[in-house]
Symmetry: C2
């Protein structure tokens, strides 16, 4: 009923519709209409109520509200349970709490803003209100902790496909899981997990997607860009989010059915790291070389003058052409 009222308000294009008309159309009491309107307002919809004219939905609502997501949702596991926040410390932190308390696989946490958004290696992530998608997805994969790195590559493949499908801007994946456009970051992915020795309890795949940020703080200004800037048009966040859930689910189902090989092959196809000179900044040492491949475990293979190095951790930056 709530969805039906919302649909009528939307169809009315921001014009007022009377409580009487809503009540007649949907065959419910005026009191019921009023209660549902109140619930919609509490859920974040900007609905104007006028004693004589009735109700009007403000068209400037561009929020990642659960009801909006559900309308466009095509995935059948991911996004069945949605936790929405106007602001949260970090969607990953929230999702880990939910996962530890037994939330179902596919549960998502989405926020308009993060107060302490995090990237890999404890770095900060700029997450201003309404200008990005700050999203975490809980999976309970039947893998072991040794598959964690491959899970991350799987996530990158799903997200990269969704970004390219919705925006058409031609992004690629930087090892392990950043999505870049023109060598600037449009998406960062932070995969965290809780596991026993041989069984993963849960994986949380967190994503920060720069959708319409016009100005980044100094520390990110040179390395980050927004999808709307890259595409030269506005991007629907709800459409992008639901497409990400669908593509991530496709990749996940494929892995569960056929193992990681097809997804790793896709990763190679969509990678912008392979074939490039890279600088590897490890925890203990750094070196440069040619990124030649990933192996079956998801490690990056870098050819140096000493041989082929296997990189499983740390930071890999692509060196500008000719800067050996």
């Amino acid at each position: 009923m709530r969805t039906a009222i919302l649909e009528l308000l939307k169809r009315n294009g921001g014009e007022y519709i009377s409580g009487e008309e809503l009540s007649r159309n949907l065959n419910v009491s005026r009191t019921a209409v009023w209660k549902h309107i109140r619930a919609l307002k509490q859920a974040g919809y900007d609905i104007e109520a006028h004693s004589r004219l009735g109700y009007a939905l403000r068209q400037n609502t561009d929020r990642l509200l659960p009801d909006e997501i559900r309308v466009q949702l095509t995935s059948t596991i991911l996004g069945q349970e949605i936790h929405y926040f106007s602001e949260v410390d970090s969607t990953n932190t929230e999702a880990k709490k939910l996962a530890a308390n037994g939330c179902p696989e596919g549960t998502i946490v989405v926020a308009e803003a993060q107060s302490t958004g995090r990237g890999r290696l404890s770095r900060g992530w700029f997450s201003p209100f309404g200008q990005g998608i700050w999203l975490s997805v809980v999976l309970r994969p039947p893998f072991g902790p040794m598959d964690a790195a491959k899970c991350t590559l799987m996530a990158a493949v799903g997200v990269n496909r969704a970004i390219n499908a919705v925006t058409g801007i031609g992004c690629g994946i930087k090892w392990p899981n950043d999505i870049l456009w023109n060598n600037r970051k449009v998406v960062g992915i932070l995969t965290e997990m809780s596991a026993e020795m041989d069984v993963i309890n849960y994986v949380v795949i967190g994503m920060g997607i720069n959708v319409s940020i016009e100005e980044f703080p100094d520390e990110f200004a040179a390395s980050a860009v927004s999808l709307s800037v890259a595409a030269g048009r506005s991007i629907s966040r709800v459409k992008l989010l639901t497409t990400i859930l669908a593509e991530l689910e496709n990749a996940y189902i494929l892995v569960k059915k056929s193992g990681f090989a097809p997804v790793l092959a896709a990763w190679r196809q969509e990678s912008i790291t392979l074939g490039q000179q890279v600088k590897v900044q490890g925890f203990e040492r750094s070196f440069t070389g040619l990124a030649v491949d990933i192996d079956a475990d998801g490690a990056l293979l870098v050819k140096t003058s000493q041989g082929v190095e296997r990189v499983v951790a740390g930071d890999v930056s692509i060196r500008p052409a000719g800067s050996l």
Copy 2:
């Protein structure tokens, strides 16, 4: 001062010592003595107070109280921070909470009883009051999640050594990390971790050690035994606990210095699985074969008629001789 008072009470062998004597010996006021006595009682010590005779420490106090542990502690990382519970749901659950909130490496959680003790594969663990060591240790190792399995073997080596050093009963390790005596379980270890793709945030090594349980519930009766029964004498829980912390710390320091190879070699030495016919109960299938070795990742290698299988998960039981 609290420790000094406790020492005097202990030296007095359960006999009363007057508040005046304590106050004179330690050169503090009677009020100070009284306050420290109260603190000791709150910490779990069974101290009798008599208006005329003074104070006496009951000698039947056999608790894993932090003050008792600290007196015998030789490790320098493990056990510097001790969280003691008379009863807790699960020491691992408590340790994971502490770790997520940033507790220092080496923090331990110890309880006299667990209400919902857990073993591997979500099995229950019988944890009655005062008759075992229910212990969890928080590590923050500089490893990746791919090293998780090896961490578990490392823990088994440390604990097995401590058990044998204190009891002399000659236990061995069943893959991956149960400690067995006469084919019956004296210790179970449950290693859990929180990690990003390439960095472990923390590892919690949980141990359930059957010290003096006389009667097990039916489900454990055939497969479990207590150290005191095996040794034919009572075992000091505090001595065993502090020895475990010391040996676990030794193994950990060795791994950080020299990698996992020496610890895996020790594991092979102390294993009772290798060279045995085993039944492997995997998530999807089960098979039998000869356990021939572990590989560099800690996986068990089992030779079957089809070739050598690599076992990273599931349950491995040793088959009685001649039961092919």
